[in-house]
């Protein structure tokens, strides 16, 4: 699995950080998404999918293997 982030679309509500704190963080200066890991471990797949589903601004996408 590979996650792609589109920072231009991010509105900084942090849903991804709540859903997948090991994969995403927020920039202190503008709240924008920071990707911590591009390829999640198998144990993080569920959280990654939740983050993508919950993002209100389509700023995240997943490429399944």
């Amino acid at each position: 699995m590979k996650i792609t982030v589109y920072p231009d679309k991010c509105v900084g509500v942090g849903q991804c950080v709540v859903a997948a704190p090991t994969l995403f963080s927020q920039n202190d200066d503008d709240g924008q998404v920071i990707q911590l890991k591009q390829k999640p471990d198998a144990a993080e797949y569920q959280a990654a999918r939740a983050a993508v589903r919950l993002c209100p601004a389509s700023a995240l996408a997943i490429e399944e293997d």
């Binding site: 509105v11 900084g12 509500v13 942090g14 849903q15 950080v17 709540v18 859903a19 963080s25 927020q26 920039n27 202190d28 200066d29 503008d30 709240g31 924008q32 939740a50 589903r53 919950l54 209100p56 601004a57 389509s58």
Partner: protein, 403 residues
């Protein structure tokens, strides 16, 4: 198909105070979208299925600019307030994006978690006061409202001794049963007050480590925004920051008190307060009339064409009770995964302060029932004054007792 006579006036009254109107279920079951008639006699499409509502709220072909022809404002007072509003909640991208970027850093998950100890301290202080005064209270006035008011005052840098004033002006903002003149006058009083707060801070070399202070230092003094814009943002944050959360705390306290089996689950495992709050957000969805848009072009939704210029209501309040997504949607069930709810809306306008609201609700509800385990509602549900015709749903009062 709906005939002209079948088009109901919006808002549609609720039959039961804790459920959306039964008509939303009828709308959900129809294959074609339905229409409702607004206060000014204009019709709007109403969307109630979860998938449709999410689709509309996330799609930039639907505009949130409230002065557009056919924009379905829900009352004359709301129309007057929204027409004057110059903040980013009344803008489409890209104008909207610039202001969101300025403010997102103030409400990050990390920053709100850092505020949790202070929010807990404020909550405990309010519960100490409740317990010291006896074994009865009016929970809205004594707990639900002061908690988020204190927190947003500190976050913004607005003196809390003005809370009675700003709470009253905020109440006018969400009322729908007043004339436009009364609504606008209340709005003006609030703006004048916040203009004064801003000018006092501007007079200082260091305007303060709070949101208004940051906006003065980083945006006003650098010419990014005007004082009028800053005051508008402060007004938006103060109203959105306490009126909404106060109502969610009151309705959730009621629901948990009425469902002791759910409360027992939280008592067994305090970590369950997190999914419990998501379920409360889904179940109550207090921005119950939120979701007005205008189609900027012809758009096909589930085979039905919405035409350019049509007014649209995409109601999260209905979507969060869609049985296609949430099984037995009218049941309170804190063990369900309610995280996909759209109580904070969806799309680029989703609530900026949602992480703050979550921390406040988690602390308020966990501590309230932990420290007052035998808290009871001192009235029947029928006797409680629900806020029917108010833009943000909730309770005017919630009498409780214990001991």
């Amino acid at each position: 198909m709906q005939t002209r006579q079948d088009i109901p006036d919006f808002p549609i009254p609720r039959e039961c105070p804790v459920h959306p109107p039964a008509a939303y279920t009828t709308f959900q079951e129809r294959d074609e979208p339905s229409k409702v008639r607004m206060w000014n006699g204009k019709d709007a499409w109403i969307f109630t299925r979860y998938a449709d509502v999410k689709f509309i709220l996330a799609d930039s072909r639907f505009s949130i600019v409230p002065t557009r022809e056919n924009f379905p404002n829900v009352s004359a007072a709301r129309a007057a307030i929204r027409a004057k509003d110059k903040t980013f909640i009344s803008m489409d991208a890209p104008g909207h994006t610039r202001y969101r970027r300025m403010l997102a850093r103030e409400f990050t998950v990390k920053k709100m978690e850092a505020w949790r100890p202070r929010i807990r301290e404020i909550t405990n202080g309010l519960i100490d006061d409740l317990l010291a005064r006896g074994n009865r209270a009016e929970l809205v006035h004594d707990f639900c409202l002061p908690l988020p008011s204190l927190v947003i005052s500190e976050l913004l840098g607005v003196p809390y001794d003005s809370h009675a004033f700003f709470q009253e002006q905020s109440r006018y903002r969400v009322r729908m049963d007043i004339t436009p003149d009364v609504a606008l006058a209340a709005s003006k009083r609030m703006m004048d007050f916040l203009d004064g707060v801003t000018r006092d801070k501007e007079a200082l070399d260091d305007p303060g480590d709070d949101i208004i202070g940051h906006l003065i230092a980083d945006q006003l003094r650098t010419g990014e925004i005007s004082r009028e814009e800053l005051v508008g943002i402060a007004d938006l944050l103060i109203v959105a920051g306490h009126e909404t959360t106060a109502n969610m705390i009151a309705l959730s306290a009621l629901s948990l008190a009425l469902h002791p089996e759910q409360l027992a689950l939280i008592r067994q495992d305090r970590a369950r307060i997190v999914p419990a709050v998501e379920e409360m957000l889904r179940y109550h969805t207090i921005a119950h009339f939120n979701g007005s848009r205008v189609a900027l072009e012809d758009v096909e939704i589930r085979g039905h064409k919405v035409r350019q210029g049509d007014g649209i209501l995409a109601l999260a309040n209905a979507a969060n009770r869609d049985p296609a997504v949430f099984a037995c949607p009218n049941d309170v069930d804190i063990t369900r995964d309610a995280s996909a709810h759209i109580a904070f809306s969806f799309g680029v306008h989703q609530c900026l302060g949602q992480s703050l609201a979550r921390v406040e609700m988690q602390e308020a509800l966990a501590l309230l029932f932990e420290r007052i385990p035998d808290l009871r509602i001192a009235a029947t549900v029928d006797e409680l004054p629900f806020k029917g015709n108010v833009f943000v749903y909730g309770l005017h009062q919630l009498p409780v007792e214990w001991g």
